[in-house]
């Protein structure tokens, strides 16, 4: 990066109306810097992505053993409506949904910045904290997709037999829309959790609970259809809470498990939750800032 010493993004030279910088250029610059920052670790990134598929390998063997046992015991070839191939395809697809919806380190970083007072710089500068973080995250994800596209393509190519072909255009569009919403929802959910740091200071145990629930009830660990027959309406409850949109929903859409009116309804609900968390995050931030007091330099 070579920038002139007095370079200030968004501020035109000789522009004295400092209070009204060019928003778009500021955001564009923030995005560019974040992308360059992220690209520094691209080698580590690609290797890490490829290794992340290793546990999937054990899942393939595990489910193969389970389906074999089920088939031998009572001749059934599906579990909770999933064939063996669909099950493996499902796990592969949740990797894609999680690549969009997971926000590693976001909440803990926000809480840390509240705790150590670093957040002050966003409060006094003409930059919006949440917008700044969102751009940083978009940059992070964009770089991630570019670098991870190789490993992802390789793994999906090797596993192509588990898929019954490409879904039709409507399904594909719905899949992409649910992925984008999964990203936005994931971001604002975690950001809200981090902003609770205005009240709690230490959010790590809260985050652990969130992580645990996400892992179990988002469909990351198993398709939530498996919960349907269980007592206490567990399946219904898990479908009612928004976690499924982080992993299960996009994957199920791609596999054609959700179609027609259900699909429209599901996308609508996902949109509802996404907007809810955007609003919730903004409200939490405003209330938090009103509570916050910063001391010292």
């Amino acid at each position: 990066m070579s920038l002139p010493a007095n370079y200030a993004p968004g501020f035109e030279a000789g522009d004295h109306s400092l209070a009204r910088p060019n928003r778009l250029r500021i955001w564009a610059t923030v995005l560019r810097i974040s992308i360059e920052e992220r690209l520094v670790y691209r080698g580590d990134f690609a290797l890490g992505t490829l290794m992340r598929f290793l546990p999937l390998l054990t899942q393939v063997f595990m489910w193969s053993a389970i389906f074999y046992a089920v088939r031998r015991a009572d001749g059934a070839s599906t579990i909770a409506g999933f064939t063996y191939e669909e099950m493996i395809a499902y796990y592969l697809l949740t990797q894609v949904s999680r690549a969009f919806s997971s926000m590693p380190g976001l909440a803990s970083m926000i809480a840390l910045q509240i705790r150590n007072g670093e957040i002050k710089k966003y409060l006094i500068q003409p930059v919006d904290l949440i917008g700044f973080l969102l751009l940083g995250r978009i940059a992070h994800k964009l770089v991630y997709y570019v670098v991870a596209a190789g490993p992802f393509a390789l793994v999906f190519y090797l596993c192509r037999d588990y898929f019954s072909g490409w879904p039709d255009a409507t399904t594909m569009l719905a899949f992409l829309a649910s992925l984008v919403m999964a990203f936005i929802m994931g971001f604002f959910m975690e950001a809200t959790l981090g902003l609770l740091g205005f009240w709690l200071l230490e959010v790590s145990s809260l985050l652990f609970i969130y992580m645990l629930f996400t892992f179990f009830f988002s469909g990351h660990m198993f398709p939530i259809d498996m919960l349907d027959g269980l007592p206490w309406h567990l399946g219904t409850i898990v479908r009612a809470i928004p976690l499924q949109y982080l992993a299960y929903f996009p994957a199920a859409v791609f596999l054609g498990k959700i179609q027609g009116a259900d699909l429209a309804w599901g996308l609508g609900l996902q949109l509802f939750w996404t907007v809810t968390f955007i609003v919730l995050c903004r409200v939490t931030f405003n209330l938090g800032v009103r509570r916050y007091s910063g001391y010292g330099g």
Partner: protein
């Protein structure tokens, strides 16, 4: 601590031998004191570690809603397997995990100088000086699960199996430890090795399933690799099999091989450690 590690400065006896048991007990006591100082943190850590295990168990309970066996392991047999996995994890996390993480950090920052100066074996010191007591709840959870599974198991394992079980559990822990300390020691050459930690996690992931599931064109090579080259498949499979499966002609050779694998792992990790220490150059100012 003064009664444990006496200073050698001015001490002209050339063969100073610290009592490793006493030193270890002092480490254990100090760690417990530290944990008890931050009591609410300890309680939270205990709860999180227990809920993680409960989730793990719930997952398999869920799977056994749909099947009666996985790769020849019935539900109760599999619970024994899971309990063994949790045992190994709890011990490794309590004793070695925090230390090995810190070890890499010591290498990177140059803080290892202080460990090297102490009149005690450096590997012992860096491997055990901190004990994470809250992880030991996992062992308790595992013991409960094991008791439950043994109660409902149609056949009670033989007394020999019960005698050998703790021994093979220790072998499993030793193999995991060897892998971990060897990976941590490579920080000397690599500087920072976050990826290597991920590597440890992903490799040991293979150990958490019965070895029968690895079969076929891809499975067989994986089974051979993680049994004979990086013996992580032995860690849980051998002790769990002792309790869950009869000791027949198929299982004895594996149990004997486990002894060899443990010894080899410990020896190799010691080799890597000493080699790393010889290449260590302090990083301080």
């Amino acid at each position: 601590m003064s009664d444990v590690v006496t200073s050698t400065i001015g001490d002209h006896a050339p063969a100073f031998r610290p009592s490793y048991t006493k030193v270890f007990l002092a480490f254990a006591r100090n760690s417990l004191v530290r944990d008890m100082t931050f009591r609410s943190n300890f309680i939270i850590e205990s709860i999180t570690s227990l809920s993680w295990m409960a989730m793990n168990l719930a997952y398999y309970i869920l799977i056994y809603q749909f099947t009666v066996s996985i790769a020849g392991w019935s539900k109760m047999e599999y619970f024994l397997f899971l309990a063994t996995t949790l045992f190994v994890n709890a011990i490794v996390q309590a004793l070695f995990m925090p230390n090995c993480e810190e070890f890499s950090e010591l290498i990177r920052t140059g803080g290892l100088d202080f460990a090297l100066l102490k009149p005690i074996d450096t590997q012992f010191l860096v491997s055990l000086h901190k004990i994470n007591w809250s992880s030991l709840w996992g062992a308790l959870f595992a013991a409960g699960l094991m008791g439950y599974a043994l109660w409902y198991l149609p056949e009670t394992p033989s007394p020999v199996a019960f005698l050998l079980y703790p021994f093979y559990l220790a072998c499993g822990v030793a193999i995991m430890y060897s892998l971990m300390i060897a990976l941590a020691a490579t920080s000397v050459w690599l500087g920072r090795n976050q990826t290597l930690y991920d590597f440890w996690f992903y490799i040991t992931n293979f150990s958490r399933y019965p070895l029968e599931i690895y079969s076929g064109a891809v499975g067989d090579p994986i089974r051979v690799l993680f049994t004979f080259i990086i013996p992580v498949l032995i860690v849980v499979n051998v002790p769990a099999r002792l309790l869950a499966k009869p000791l027949d002609g198929q299982n004895w050779p594996l149990a004997v091989f486990a002894l060899f694998a443990t010894a080899a792992s410990l020896w190799l990790s010691r080799l890597v450690f000493t080699k790393a220490m010889r290449s260590y150059r302090s990083a301080s100012s």
